[in-house]
Point group: C2
Chain length 208, copies 2
């Protein structure tokens, strides 16, 4: 059998917030889900059309004056049901493809100094990512405390189509999702420190 068709449910979940185009789907995934999920156009457009074929969504041409034509997809009752069924079904374990770990594991035959260089590059990238996440975290935390969203957040909330009633709840979901990303990046950084220390001891041993 082939891969698991999760794209379908990711899109259905986004459509359950608000009718949107394939372009909107891509943008939302990129800004909100990127550290634990990703989708690409090659998958999004065919999947949207299949959703329509399966009666899980409807397609409507939207040609607002002065704007270019776009196709807006709306979730159907059947689509909402399919989405809920997926939510309640058993959840697959996270799937990871971590090239740094692969390289590290396979390069045990190379000098420790090479492994350290490898890890330090990764460490730099993860630190940069953490800085970005920390910024978003601060923005979200402020919004949650003051009950008022900044401009950059307002754009996101507009995209999700959340009404003011459930907005706080959604903000908290965003916040917790981000917290997950931060936990993971911190774990990677903690490992980098540990590995560098361990390999450093090796280095010192072989030098003496």
């Amino acid at each position: 059998m082939a891969a698991k068709k999760k794209t379908q449910f990711a899109i259905l979940g986004l459509l359950s917030w608000k009718p949107m185009s394939g372009y909107d789907v891509k943008k939302l995934v990129d800004v909100g889900l990127s550290h634990f999920w990703n989708e690409n156009y090659g998958q999004i457009y065919p999947t949207l059309d299949r959703l329509v074929a399966d009666g899980l969504a409807t397609k409507k041409s939207d040609h607002a004056s002065g704007k270019r034509r776009r196709f807006v997809y709306t979730i159907t009752r059947k689509g909402k049901k399919a989405f809920r069924t997926w939510i309640e079904a058993p959840t697959d374990a996270p799937i990871v493809r971590n090239e740094l770990q692969l390289k590290f594991f396979l390069s045990s035959g190379l000098p420790a100094i090479d492994s350290v260089r490898l890890i330090k590059q990764h460490q730099g990238a993860q630190r940069a990512a953490l800085a970005e996440y920390r910024h978003s975290e601060a923005v979200l935390r402020e919004a949650l405390q003051n009950d008022a969203v900044s401009d950059e957040l307002d754009e996101l909330m507009t995209m999700t189509g959340t009404d003011s009633q459930s907005r706080k709840k959604q903000l908290n979901t965003f916040y917790l999702t981000l917290r997950h990303g931060i936990h993971i990046i911190e774990a990677r950084l903690a490992w980098c420190e540990e590995a560098i220390t361990s390999l450093g001891a090796d280095l010192a041993n072989t030098e003496t």
Copy 2:
């Protein structure tokens, strides 16, 4: 362009330890790399043959008495060079597909109690995984301290074909790789606690 052909390098890296069959590759990936990498036969066998076609490995039929025929692949000098080139090339950021996070993020419209159930299931699975990792960690730590490997570890070391000289180094690599897995699982569990607490407060609020 298409996906990135990392399978090639994963296999090349394993062949750099020891000549082996496609079946051996699969087994090694499953036992040693499964928490940050995976490969499947549909990918392994065609890739092995392409490695041969590209001059990065050689194929040899091995038919030991009483055993069934197998094809053993040996890395060439060109293959080793290709492997090193990949090690030194920039490393892609980790790619993750975490269905639990996807569900959590998309289900902010559902009652908090549903989200909590979702997370608790995940928590159970992660706790079970952690227990296994802790066991392997103890085995490896003991081997590193006593400089003597247990039976279950000896089998793994035989598979990797490591000579006694570089064995300790390889053991330490295994250990550090496992530590990475532990850090990640602990991060996931820490997030579960945090999320459940946060949603629990929500629950208490809506109930009063």
